[in-house]
Symmetry: D2
Subunit: 247 residues, 4 copies
């Protein structure tokens, strides 16, 4: 019998990442990847206390070495396990300022995380997803989901850094969907269009009415819905926004 | 107490319409609209036999008079009921031939059903959906879903008739999503990208392997997933295709 | 020797239509189509006085009969002439109001002109354009241009009528571009994104600064640029907006 | 009196770059940027022999240091000159192979040239373009054009590297168009959709019939057409393909 399949979440923070981890932990052991252990320690504890199984691993998605090491640890913790789901929830390069004031380092920030990160993470996760596609005991087709933003389809003024890396991330998702769909891996890109209601965030969003902020638990539910789709009805792109969002 | 809310499916045939009706009948009485009674009689029987509630009504979506009469009948059968869901599943004008050979009547066929039908049906259904948005006992936000096709985003050669009416249908869906979202109605457009596995269909699709054909039950499940979304996480556009579809 | 080729402009008013007519009249006799003779009489006079050749013909683009009669008159005036260019500049159904207040007649207005008009005009013009594609003495490939609006790519709230008919018009343009490109006819859709500086218009646009309004002569120049493209470098979609437009 | 404005072409090879250089040299002194001097020496000679003015400068667009040095040399050769046009014609990362076989270096190749290159070049060129926007003797608004490919709007299987960097390049172009349009700089992205007829190229494209290959001189003409547009009618995106291209 195949070992129990796992779900891997890259970019776990207090918002979407945590909600997705909790949702997928109802069905699978979850691996929580983030740079700092503070990002996942409490969450792992919470999931384990609730009867789920969560393992947090420090990893920098923009580093091949770091990711390789993280996936080795995954293999050590869950030997032979395939991946039922992998979610790339990391993003970098959010810079909103006059283009001529953007530094090369700032611009590179978008590339490092949103693009190179998406590339490196996909290369590590896809073999485990492909293995799951061949597992006759799999409940659902393996799913690789990329969390995107409106900046992946709309490039606004003063947003060249974030928009370019998000456009690129979306291109990666679509290309992988076409390449790996026939092999049974469901790849999807999600346009999270609007502010997310992240607990503890202390910026302008804190004071927005709840109805103007996307509930990360609802994002997680949508991701689970994608995961539960059959091979005969894959959704490869979805948008998610509140009912009052302008777009 | 508010009367039990209903779901209205326009364009019920053996494929998507029937599957959607069966799925929504698990939660709501369903109204089945189609031009010919042969389209819904057996299905209504089947749903009623299975413990659900289904009422078939003959209606031509391209006729304001016919639709008005159908909605009067709905009010008579379910007095004061709001609509939890309305699905516009009708399409017309599938014509694939040299543009110079398309007749005005053929071209008009796309308009009559896909566009004017979408317009007229939405005008009838929206008041019932808006009523549902104000019903504090509603389980989910009211949902208006338009079944679309790839021709709604891609206009191929020799397909001007079908493509133009599908582009138009999508525009209606998006415009309504923006207008009625803030009032609590969830409007979505679904790009059904590929052949559907319709029982009894006797054309080239009959002999395609099942994995190349979208399962209408899976479309229905995706529609239900849209319906179950909260106001803080609406999806307004989805694509649905098999894992092996080229796109 | 082939008779001198002509250019046909449908939807001639004081703005884009007049500018396009003047521009193409530098190279070809121009046919001016509009419903009312007041739309083209002065313009035809002006062009003829300036040494060009212009013929105005009353025609309703939404009527097959009217268009057939107009094209018969064209054949009578310019026997055997092919069409170097045909521009569909008509639009209908500009309605901005709550969806539930739109009447069926208003909604139909968009269809009649923007869609059925585009269909009927294309069917009449294409044979003349195809004839030009076979004329070895042709200076440029024959060109069929559709004037569109942002509503052809973006469906805003309260704009379902205009958006749906513009989406549809764009679909027609793209489908024809794909079907007739290989036969040598250059089909293009132009997204005119913003208010046009139309002489004599007395509404809110009158008082906008000139820099916020698109110059119709510049649109005409862009259309001529499309016409002058070689078969080895067709542009099938362009957007045109002022430098200060938000989009 | 202001010094004579210049045009700067980055990524000069035997195809589009050379054609664009020749076309803009009819109006402006042209700067030819390429990594190897062999890319521009003959071309500069040819333009200078024909009575134009061309200066070739070795530069690596992916290196801030190299580009800074190149623009210093430009200032030295043409002190105080503003830029009437800047064309970013460089692209990297054309890799078509199974995703799991793409190396990090290959993937990075797309980023380095198409994205970081576009970023660095734009930061150097924009101040010269902005200066031109303020020059009352300017003939046309300053123009910044990015040469793109279909991969900028369509992400195919096995093309994640090229598609992601082209999507990103397009995002940069659109964001800059919105930011700098109001300041009078015309930014445009060109989707060159199909094989280009590049002299001397010895691959599968060599044997394609000419009609299936885009003529780079026609691309250059289209770029000039963009440059010649007035501030009241900017085109920010164009597609260019042969009449027989499928899309």
């Amino acid at each position: 019998m195949a070992p129990r399949p796992i779900a891997i979440i890259a970019g776990v923070g207090p918002g979407t990442g945590a909600s997705v981890a909790r949702r997928f932990a109802k069905a699978y052991p979850v691996i929580l990847l983030a740079r700092g252990t503070d990002k996942f320690e409490k969450l792992a504890q919470e999931i384990n206390d609730a009867g789920g199984k969560a393992v947090g691993i420090s990893a920098d998605v923009s580093s091949a070495e770091s990711l390789t090491s993280a996936f080795k640890q995954i293999e050590k913790e869950f030997p032979g396990a395939s991946a039922a789901a992998a979610v790339f929830n990391a993003a970098g390069g959010f810079v909103r300022k006059p283009f001529l004031e953007v530094t090369e380092d700032e611009f590179r920030g978008g590339w490092e995380v949103s693009q190179k990160g998406a590339f490196l993470f996909s290369q590590q996760a896809l073999p485990l997803l492909l293995a799951h596609a061949k597992d006759p005991s799999a409940t659902h087709p393996p799913t690789l989901i990329f969390t995107g933003a409106t900046a992946g389809v709309k490039a606004n003024a003063r947003m060249a850094t974030f928009a370019s890396s998000n456009f690129a991330k979306r291109a990666i998702a679509i290309s992988l969907a076409k390449e790996f769909g026939p092999e049974g891996v469901h790849v999807a890109w999600a346009n999270i269009d609007g502010p997310i209601d992240i607990p503890g965030r202390d910026d302008y969003r804190k004071h927005l009415p709840a109805e103007q902020k996307i509930d990360p638990d609802d994002i997680a539910e949508a991701y689970w819905g994608l995961h539960a789709q059959s091979r005969r009805a894959f959704t490869n792109e979805i948008d998610i926004r509140t009912s009052v969002e302008k777009w």
